[in-house]
């Protein structure tokens, strides 16, 4: 079975680990990696409108700080870095990985541009593992064989959209106050595709959202792998979600995030 991995940025450890784990799976070949270019004015403009100044810090952290941080101590076992150590993976970027593995790489400004679609067809993708990079149009989804697998870091179908690790903690009205991840096959809607697996994941006392997300990340790799296995073994794809089963969430305002984090970490703002 041919798999193409879509990566939002060359240094994404998540993309790297998904590619490596999938490549090690019997009966599966990674036939291509589709990488989105970072220096893309349209992408930067769009993401700045969404994230504001925190985008600059995020880019700096991902592109400059993360790759240059010296390794003084072993990383936590339940982090992506820990998983990389367990896999004995030496590469630090997907671009290094494709050279070693001799896998074709295609860099694009936009995942929906013709070059990306042509690459997908050349790779004869039976399934695509999406690890980030923006919204996909129906043409892309249609060229992806059995479909595009995505792990959403929230419990579907209820929590769709952005910041869904945070939103359950600012949502008192319903019995859906859970965090976790969901493996689904992407469709034209936002996080509305058929659900393959839901993985509830609990917080630790005093843990920050950042630490929680770091602990959840290796499970996202496992879910991607589980999806590839399920499709390889001929598992039936369930029907799409019903629109009414969930809600669309948007980027949290910093004040709302502060509130959610205070509930999440169980530390009252008034007591701190």
């Amino acid at each position: 079975m041919n798999v193409v991995v879509v990566s939002p940025i060359a240094t994404s450890l998540y993309s790297l680990l998904v590619a490596e784990q999938v490549a090690r799976e019997p009966g599966v070949v990674v036939t291509g990696v589709l990488l989105r270019r970072v220096l893309n004015p349209r992408r930067l403009r769009k993401e700045f409108a969404r994230d504001g100044v925190r985008l600059l810090r995020k880019v700096y952290q991902k592109l400059i700080v993360a790759p240059t941080v010296p390794r003084c101590a072993p990383p936590p076992a339940d982090s992506l870095s820990g998983l990389r150590d367990r896999c004995n993976l030496r590469q630090t970027s997907i671009t290094d990985w494709v050279k070693v593995r001799k896998v074709p790489l295609c860099r694009v400004f936009d995942l929906n541009e013709p070059a990306a679609l042509a690459f997908l067809r050349r790779c004869r993708a039976d399934v695509v593992c999406f690890t980030g990079g923006g919204l996909l149009r129906s043409e892309f989804l249609g060229a992806a064989g059995a479909g595009v697998l995505n792990v959403h870091v929230g419990i579907l179908p209820f929590y769709r959209g952005m910041d869904v690790v945070e939103w359950p903690w600012a949502w008192p009205g319903v019995e859906h106050g859970q965090t976790g991840a969901t493996l689904h096959v992407m469709n034209a809607g936002l996080d509305t595709g058929p659900i393959l697996q839901v993985l509830p994941f609990d917080r630790r006392r005093g843990e920050s959202f950042l630490a929680f997300r770091e602990r959840l990340a290796p499970r996202q790799v496992e879910l991607q792998l589980a999806g590839v296995r399920a499709i390889r073994d001929g598992a039936a794809v369930p029907p799409p979600q019903s629109t009414e089963d969930g809600l669309q969430f948007y980027v949290m305002h910093p004040r709302m995030r502060l509130l959610a984090e205070s509930v999440f970490t169980d530390i009252s703002l008034s007591r701190s």
Partner: protein, 291 residues
């Protein structure tokens, strides 16, 4: 070596950018207000008036009336609170019976001895604030225009009045909470989240009045539908109102009443946030397990 050079540069760049878009300044002011409001008479008054039975904040339905009440008791405190100059006309009006308000106001508001007595002075406060801030009062016809049509194109500024009034009717109990109203607000939040400044289609876009009304509409909607996503949208709309009022202050055009309305929305938001936090905390600490 590279990090040592880059870290401060990036930090300075981020700060400059935050200042440019007003984020940092806004956060500072919001934090200062939040601190002050913990002890302010306005907060306790609103809490008492709005949450007598612990049913959640009902302040949106009574907000303007409370503003009037509060101003009558503490006419200058709100200016002190925000460090802004006094607002003579508001203070004057707050201390006088409605019938003794300046003649032009009485005429423009349609105040008579009869209706002032029958309806109570509070009912004139919304109109007074609107009149003095230049906001066009909502007409009955406007309030009843077909709202879903407004979501199709950009939203005309007047549409926010309609949105505001619709949700207020629900709050007052004059109208049943309809599916249409909920869907409208879902669509409005979605459009706002995706387009932000592009939300408004007419020449009033970006005006302080548009943003302050939109903020108030989202606050009220969050109470009606018990939906924190609307409060999240209110926070974002409030940011735009802030930028607008800062720009007006720098240009010497800011009306004291504009600042007051900004401050009023800030108070509503703080109260809504503290209520939400209380509800979330009581729900999760009791039921949710840690690993």
């Amino acid at each position: 070596m590279l990090r040592a050079l880059l870290d401060p540069v990036v930090e300075i760049a981020c700060r400059l950018l935050e200042d440019a878009v007003g984020e940092k300044e806004h956060r500072k002011l919001s934090a200062a207000l939040a601190r002050d409001l913990n002890f302010s008479p306005l907060k306790s008054l609103l809490e008492t008036a709005c949450d007598p039975h612990g049913e959640g904040l009902k302040l949106a339905s009574r907000g303007w009336a409370n503003l009037g009440d509060w101003l009558r008791v503490h006419p200058s405190s709100i200016s002190r609170l925000a460090g802004w100059p006094e607002t003579p006309w508001l203070a004057d009006c707050a201390l006088l019976p409605v019938t003794e308000w300046p003649e032009d106001l009485v005429r423009d508001l349609g105040v008579t001895t009869e209706n002032a007595t029958a309806r109570g002075p509070d009912c004139f406060w919304p109109a007074l604030v609107e009149l003095r801030t230049g906001f066009r009062p909502l007409t009955k016809a406007e309030s009843l225009q077909p709202i879903p049509a407004l979501v199709k194109g950009g939203l005309p500024s007047a549409g926010v009045w309609a949105a505001l009034y619709w949700v207020e009717l629900v709050l007052r109990g004059d109208m049943r909470e309809t599916e249409g109203c909920a869907q409208y607000y879902d669509a409005l939040v979605r459009k706002f989240e995706l387009r932000r400044e592009g939300l408004f289609s007419d020449e009033k876009k970006g005006s302080f009045g548009s943003w302050v009304r939109l903020t108030q509409a989202f606050i009220r909607a969050s109470i009606v539908f018990r939906d924190p996503r609307h409060l999240n949208a209110a926070l974002k709309a409030h940011d735009f109102a802030y930028r607008s009022v800062v720009a007006a202050t720098k240009g010497g055009r800011a009306l004291a009443a504009q600042k007051l309305l900004y401050c009023f929305n800030q108070t509503c938001i703080e109260l809504s946030l503290s209520t939400l936090e209380r509800e979330c905390r009581s729900r999760f600490t009791d039921r949710h397990q840690f690993v």
